[in-house]
């Protein structure tokens, strides 16, 4: 049994165990044990990876290749580099935190945890896949449970949001499918066999015409998941209606599939197409960055604020990826990770506030710092991380992104970069606005004086997410080195 396949097998076993469980207590115990095992596996993977990297110069480590549909040359092909290892670790932490945050789920608990873990299985599978077909399969497996998760356990206009989210993401995957087939049928351009294997295709010079045609399809197919403007509309509605743990997983992990896919498939396999189209998507990304920030400024619903903040921050990821240089890419990956932890943390905290006050409208809240100090303090810390204060992960990421963006010295790049940077100021405004209205000042509602304090499982979930944020912020070098090493072959392939 190889170390990577376990990331798919263990969740499947957990699901089987859940199917035979009874009641909330058993279900959450099983889900928690599964989460802890996976976190352990992820940490083990980091150490194993670093050890293996010292001796091996391969692009991907721990590779394994089993033929699946041999006639079409489809393989179950897996392997990881530093980037996937980091994202797998992110996933395992967010999933475990999500289980803790859902500790008191009362309606159909078994089904809830099963759907949650199906989702995480898809995400793990996506990050370890080296075969476009397998990758696509896992992508869809990750998306479809969202429908049930939002539709059954959500709040507000949940049926509408769930349907919108599912259809937009599945529509995106439909576009992506055409892109993947286009890549597949051009993978014999150098006279080899047709293949879905990413590493094989990267060696092939796909004809320029095909790259020009299929790059936008592949890019958009993934970018919708990364909430690229103007395909972001599913995201705020979806977040607002989703239950807490699902928002966490969704913003923290699922949306990262978009950036990762753009990087690993669209950019790596169709580099000339990327050069040709980059200006267009840079403009869209920059609009997303600014638009998301300003939209967050005007919202009063806590979840909408963070959903638009996500649009803004993930816009930066695709913005950085399109800069096509090493520094910006490093920033993009770091931003993905840091945003994953931060938004998950935010949504967890929002869930706690909402669970106590039954409102997410900031104008009705006030003075919470006096009543629920633990949650409030963490909220301030998370807010500071989001606005990019040095010492937190957000700073490292954004620093790299804009350093990389400034390496281009023509007018177009300068303008879009400056426009995007200005979003940082807006970010500070909307974060501090929420902190000011919601946490400071007098307590607006008498009933809030008796709000219960944070429980042990809530604290555990929050700390799980806070530690990596500070960890990356204080000591970014080891992570950044791991990513930079892995970027090397991509730099050679693309530029």
């Amino acid at each position: 049994m190889d170390i990577l396949s376990l990331f798919v097998i263990v969740p499947v076993l957990v699901i089987l165990a859940l199917v035979f469980s009874k009641g909330l207590k058993q279900a959450r115990m099983i889900a928690m044990c599964g989460g802890i095992i996976q976190l352990g596996m992820a940490l083990n993977l980091i150490f194993a990876y670093i050890k293996e990297r010292e001796v091996s110069k391969e692009i991907m480590l721990f590779t394994r290749d089993l033929p699946w549909f041999e006639q079409l040359n489809i393989h179950y092909s897996i392997g990881v580099d530093g980037i996937s290892v980091a994202l797998i670790t992110l996933t395992s932490i967010v999933v475990l935190a999500g289980v803790f945050i859902s500790w008191k789920i009362d309606d159909l608990p078994k089904e809830f945890f099963v759907s949650l873990i199906v989702l995480s299985t898809g995400v793990y599978g996506f990050f370890i896949s080296l075969d476009l077909f397998t990758m696509f399969v896992f992508y869809e497996i990750a998306v479809i449970p969202m429908y049930l998760l939002i539709g059954i356990w959500g709040s507000g206009p949940k049926e509408y949001s769930a349907m919108k989210l599912t259809l937009m993401l599945m529509g995106a995957s439909a576009v992506l499918l055409v892109g993947i087939l286009g890549i597949y049928f051009n993978s014999n351009a150098d006279g080899g066999a047709l293949t879905f294997n990413i590493l094989e295709i990267a060696k092939v010079n796909i004809p320029f015409e095909a790259q020009k045609l299929f790059f936008p399809m592949t890019f958009i197919g993934f970018a919708v998941l990364g909430a690229l403007f103007p395909f972001h509309t599913w995201s705020p509605d979806g977040h607002a209606s989703a239950p807490t743990a699902v928002s966490m997983l969704h913003a923290g992990v699922l949306m990262k599939l978009g950036g990762y896919g753009i990087f690993r498939v669209a950019m790596y396999l169709l580099p000339e197409g990327a050069l040709e189209w980059s200006w267009f998507f840079i403009i869209l990304s920059a609009i997303g960055v600014i638009y998301g920030a300003f939209a967050a400024l005007r919202q009063t619903d806590l979840k909408y604020i963070n959903a638009y903040a996500s649009v803004s921050h993930l816009g930066m990821v695709s913005f950085a990826l399109l800069m096509l240089n090493k520094t910006a890419w490093n920033g993009a990956i770091l931003q993905s990770l840091s945003h994953g932890f931060m938004t998950a943390l935010f949504f967890a905290l929002i869930g706690m506030v909402y669970g106590r006050t039954h409102t997410r409208d900031i104008t009705k809240l006030g003075g919470l710092l006096k009543v629920i100090p633990f949650i409030s303090v963490i909220y301030v810390v998370a807010g500071l991380a989001l606005l990019g204060l040095p010492g937190f992960s957000g700073f490292v990421a954004e620093m790299n992104i804009f350093m990389g963006a400034f390496l281009h010295d023509d007018m177009f790049y300068r303008i879009v970069t400056i426009v995007s940077i200005s979003a940082i100021v807006v970010t500070a405004v909307y974060v501090l606005r929420v902190v000011g209205i919601m946490l400071m000042g007098p307590v607006k509602n008498e009933a809030y004086l008796n709000l219960p304090k944070a429980t042990w499982y809530e604290k555990t979930g929050v700390l799980l997410l806070l530690i990596p944020i500070i960890g990356i912020g204080v000591a970014p070098l080891w992570l950044s080195n791991m990513i930079l090493e892995s970027l090397e072959p991509f730099i050679q392939g693309v530029l």
């Binding site: 079409l72 049930l148 597949y184």
Partner: protein, 475 residues
Amino acid sequence: MDLNSFFLMRHEMILLGIILLLIVAEIIVADSKKSSIVNLALLLFGIHTLSGFFPLQESSLFGGMFRSNDLIHFFKSVLNLGVFILLLQAADWIKEKVVENDRSTEFFILLFASLLGMYFMISAGDFLMFYIGLELSTLPVAALAAFEIMQRKSSEAGIKLILSAALASGVSLFGISMLYATTGSIYFDQIVLGLTETNLSILGFVLFFTGLAFKISLVPFHFWTADVYEGAPISIASYLSVISKGAAVFILMILLFSVLKPLMHIWENLVYGIALATMFTGNLFALRQQNMKRFLAFSSIAQAGFILLGLITGTQLGTTTVVYFVLIYIFSNLAAFGVVQAISLKTGKENLSDYEGLYRTNPKLSLVMMLALFSLAGIPPVAGFFGKFFLFTAAASKGYYLLVFLAVVNVTISLYYYLLVIRAIFLRKGTDPIPFFKNKLYMRLGLIITVLGILILGLYSPLYDYIYQLSAAFK
């Protein structure tokens, strides 16, 4: 011709034997024990299905009128399997509703006769045998559609089916006669040699195509579908949408890929246009359906449109993907129809709104429905995803990227209405949900087999490779 070569017709002979045996049984069995005929028919057909999996050599009979090879043999077994599942799902309905009218034997005889027609149709080596098979497969189904004679809708379904089927097969026959006029032969082997692109042969082909398009319910020959499905007994609706459609797709594929190959760039365009029309019509009409049978009718029209994406290629890859998809489609659609039938039998409810809150009362049945719908919609890891992905791959291999793109747009549209059913079952709590009930053994078996098929067929890749080898026969 020696006696041994008759064994080439093993499927046909055994099925004929079963039909005759049932007639004898009808005479012998006492009236009070009539329901044992259901068990007998199931047993006999089960044995027949199993025996179908033994290999058969490749040869032809009657001077080439009847032929068989591994792919045809395999496909007959697939049809058998489908009919067997369908009988399992129908058994309780027959026992409860049909036996009391003393008409259960009729049901089996008519159904098997139709299946026999399909055997002949897909084994045909000339247009005469093909036409006889086509007629034999259609006429008994019209009688079956009108099986619940006391209900107006059922009689209406029967009349609608027989009238439109008669017209379609007449047009088809007219087309065949034109093809005969241009090539001077009705044998497939000789037609392919003599067929050239003339106005007459093109007209002949188009008219001939109509007959099969009707059976597959391709747009614009689909108008009978929803009404007939709604009126007919559910097992007959599922027979029409699964078995009848599957067999017609198969023979259409064989004819297009081998006999009509000289007209390829004519039928390519035709299939292209009809595929688009069928997908869009089926999907858009399915959006607003409230009756589950009508809903599945339009969904099965849309699925037929997807199948055409494999047909357009004319390659071994196309053959493989079409057969593979039909196999998966049989399991997925039978699962969906099975659930509808189980609920209809217990409660008489057939509307989408009746399904609200089903998961909270009947979780297992709901999960079967979910798997079936996910498979129809093409969501991994269930089988339907693989079937569709490979169909798209086949179309893309010929460079039809635009067609594939429009098809995936359709997949998204179809996902919407499949999710509407999921929404009713899982998301809604319902004011008056269907109470918990237990299915009888046969129905449970029928559903379990389909679920296993849905779960395994896609992930188990050797099956695909096996079909690919078989498909070499019609390169």
